[in-house]
Symmetry: C2
Subunit: 196 residues, 2 copies
């Protein structure tokens, strides 16, 4: 836009968001300036506060504002179980099921050799140290069921089994509420193999 360096700077800054190109950035900037200045100020404060205050939990590596997150500090949880997930969003999905009462370890990524992301980049040493603290008995691998997620689960599983821990993986099978006719064949094949 001609004549406004603040507007140009805002559009450029919005493009740093993932999935936002020049057109979306312009639309966001116009919307905030034209219809929602309070939203713009609120977002500015939230960004600055989050960038300054949020760090990683020393135990589970998730985002938190304290040294150790509230989940890890919760005495009512089962400290003998450790569930390994890729992102805080995955952790949140598991929490919403209310079916798991153990602790978590959040990788904040996954092994992805094609993108140059190896074991060091996702802090596997930290996970191995955490899992071998003597309290953890079972490690549940809940990485995604994608190629990278499966590879990550495999690498972690092998390493932890060699350290004498019980390692399990989330069950693969037919999703709840689905009709077999419309389920993909790979899923049905897995469900057959893992039948119980």
């Amino acid at each position: 836009m001609a004549g406004s360096s603040s507007l140009d700077a805002l559009v450029q800054a919005l493009r740093r968001l993932p999935g936002v190109g020049i057109k979306s950035a312009q639309r966001m900037a116009f919307h905030l300036l034209q219809h929602d200045r309070e939203g713009a100020r609120m977002l500015a404060r939230a960004l600055a506060q989050a960038a300054d205050n949020i760090k990683h939990c020393e135990l589970c590596h998730t985002f938190t504002e304290s040294a150790i997150c509230s989940t890890c500090l919760d005495e009512r949880r089962d400290h003998s179980k450790l569930c390994v997930v890729e992102t805080p969003a995955d952790q949140s999905a598991l929490e919403r099921t209310a079916a798991y009462k153990g602790l978590y370890f959040v990788l904040m990524g996954k092994l992805s050799p094609l993108d140059g992301i190896g074991p060091k980049d996702i802090g596997l040493q930290k996970l191995f140290a955490r899992a071998t603290d003597g309290v953890v008995q079972e490690v549940i691998l809940a990485t995604n069921f994608t190629a990278e997620g499966e590879a990550t689960a495999h690498v972690i599983g092998e390493a932890l089994k060699s350290r004498g821990l019980q390692v399990t993986r989330l069950a693969r099978g037919v999703p709840a509420g689905s009709e077999l006719e419309y389920v993909d064949l790979g899923t049905i094949a897995h469900a057959l193999v893992d039948r119980r």
Copy 2:
């Protein structure tokens, strides 16, 4: 996310952006915190600065940091021509053509009765006062060729013609570089009617 109010606040604030739902907001927040904290701080500064500094040009109503924008102040431009556009993005598109050297009036919206947006909401009185300053001879209507844009152009055109101004509309026709076979029929019909 459990245990971090800064992160929750950031996700909620990101949802104020147009086209951003809960999943995108989470993805944006994780990306900024995990990979681009400097980007988060930069965006925070840009938002605060833009929200505080950007106002509307007193003459053309576009976004600017001064009372009157640099385009309106430019003495080399043809002050007898006034081009009416819906948004600063449209103005920017016209500027990039380098085919227009007159001035602009930016509506910052369009008539849209279904959304309750009438003549007062898009400042048509301000446009009428601007166009009848005695210097402007021709008003070029460059609102979008959508239903709302056409209606807006019609209303403005009728009002300005009754005030004795020359009113023109951007030509409708076949886009540059296109093959007739693949152009929609409405466009070809318009191009036939407006042939020259």
